[in-house]
Symmetry: none
Amino acid sequence: MLEARLNEAAILKRLLEAIKELVADANFECNEEGINLQAMDNSHVALVSVKLDATGFKRYRCDRPMPLGVNLNSLTKVLKCAKDDDVVIIKAADDADILSLTYEARNSDRIAEYDMKLMDIDADTLGIPDTDYDARVTMPSSEFSRIVRDLSQLGESVRIEVSKEGVRFVSEGEAANGNILLKQSEITTKAGSSSTKKEEDADEEEENEEDGEDEGGDGKKKAKKAKKEKVKKETGEDVSMNGEEEDDEEEFKADGEDGEEEQEEDSSSKKRKKAPAKATGKATKKAKKSKDGDDDGDLPDGVRIELNQHVNLTFSLKYLVNFSKSSSLSNVVQLMMSNDVPLLVSYEFGQGHIRYYLAPKIGDD
Amino acid sequence: MLEARLNEAAILKRLLEAIKELVADANFECNEEGINLQAMDNSHVALVSVKLDATGFKRYRCDRPMPLGVNLNSLTKVLKCAKDDDVVIIKAADDADILSLTYEARNSDRIAEYDMKLMDIDADTLGIPDTDYDARVTMPSSEFSRIVRDLSQLGESVRIEVSKEGVRFVSEGEAANGNILLKQSEITTKAGSSSTKKEEDADEEEENEEDGEDEGGDGKKKAKKAKKEKVKKETGEDVSMNGEEEDDEEEFKADGEDGEEEQEEDSSSKKRKKAPAKATGKATKKAKKSKDGDDDGDLPDGVRIELNQHVNLTFSLKYLVNFSKSSSLSNVVQLMMSNDVPLLVSYEFGQGHIRYYLAPKIGDD
DNA sequence: ACTTTGTGCA
DNA sequence: TGCACAAAGT
């Protein structure tokens, strides 16, 4: 039995609007910690991963893990029937093939209920490469959208180069070449910069775990490897596949062995030796942030670059444009990159996140 | 070597948006006085002429005249990558086949650079008929857009009739006929009317030249001929072809002999015996305006009609609709007409102008 | 590229 | 409540 009550239908609507073009059908994996979705795009080039923390719901109950196989197009249609500020109640019986969505108007004088057929979807839970990233770029999501939209007019692909100078997006087309340089708003290397990050809980965790190199002053990570570890954790933390920990450079692979979102709590404590109850959500994180006076916070503008090593990768703009539809979910986006490893594009939105992975084009850097 | 710095990308974006449907490729003729473009539309029916005064740029440098052959579609794409308030720097080396556009964000932490291939375009510099117009209608550009859009739904062409009564736009279609009469806001004939005109320098010149009939009271021109002379100068002034002065009724013809915008100064003084340095630009004009307390100034609404002689012409609405895309460049548009002569549709926008010429349909009036 | 729909503003 | 602008669909 699943019953989840969400205060704002808007979040769900935007999520589906963002991924419905990328994926046709997907399982919403529900367990007591929340709802996760993981799927490869139709052409098996990109991977999308959505997490909604149980704590993000007004009310949440999930007796036992259950996958809800959903046709995203249908769900999008159903969600369009909700007003943005409606309260949504999602319900599914334990062995039912029906998903029920109830929309309650704020004033409660309208209650709409929709039932949607569920489907069985091969649970190809995907192993997400648990990569150590060499560069993390935090920027306004609107700017990222703008850049990929602009460059997609010129060419098929974009080369993203992160250096101390900043981030450079380069696209070469038949009619014209484009080249956009974003300088970071403040300090160039990691942390210390007072530049704000975003609702990225990762940093606090770093402090807990990797200790010495907290956000404070040291511009660079002590050791590249250490840094990588951190970065990885920051982003990899919530990724629904946790049971296994391939170090990196692995392409996405299907695996059904992870405990269905039993989630980080366990695995993180075991493998990463830190376990600041991620599931407890933002409250904890934010509290920590304010204490630390760290880089987190929401920078409306401004670009932040955290860099271990020069990266230079080429990606298909078509996919990036698609990813950038998630801008409505957050004002900030993070790009995580290491050479020869899939790019991670991450939007954090309070109740969870949506992350996209995209393998670089070969013959780049 | 060309280097031009424009404070607002918007102006260029709008210009290209306005003409890209009409013309595929064109030469931007650059010289020390500014940048000019002249081209016939793809079907050789209409002619478009754009002028950007050097003085309109924040910085402008052009060592020697150079034509930049541009594919307008490509340029449009590149310009779409600029935000409206970006600063644009246009650069071209002397014998390069590359045009470089650099966009600097207001806050300067984003710099985008685009390279565009240039092409060789047959420099069919066109002779624009230096017509004496019998009627000039000044009206809000939005109103003009509305009228041609409306009428284009009914029929293929519009008959424009200017009389003392006002301007009448008539279209006859299969399903319905339309007929729009615009009465002028105040006095019917020339000048004196306090009706504002627009950034139209012409009027002051009239005063200088034709004297007696300054903006003051006399509603009509003394002599029709004199009036015509004036009108011609007013509009024909900046038109890039000045060397020759075919009196009128000539269709556009290619000619390479005009000194590439050596411009009016010379010809006007010689031929028209008045030469209030048009090239010096609006400052002069405006100063004069304010002094005279004449009709100039920007009338947001209101229609002004200057008429020597009844005109009655029929035009293809398809083209007029196309021309009216320039509304974003100016709140005011001027229509200049004489019987059996191409219509001139002119938008003035501070840094220059965009003008369209369209031959009337035969069998009209 | 144009038309239609939806949203924000007056 | 109506109008205008912007975004999406055809």
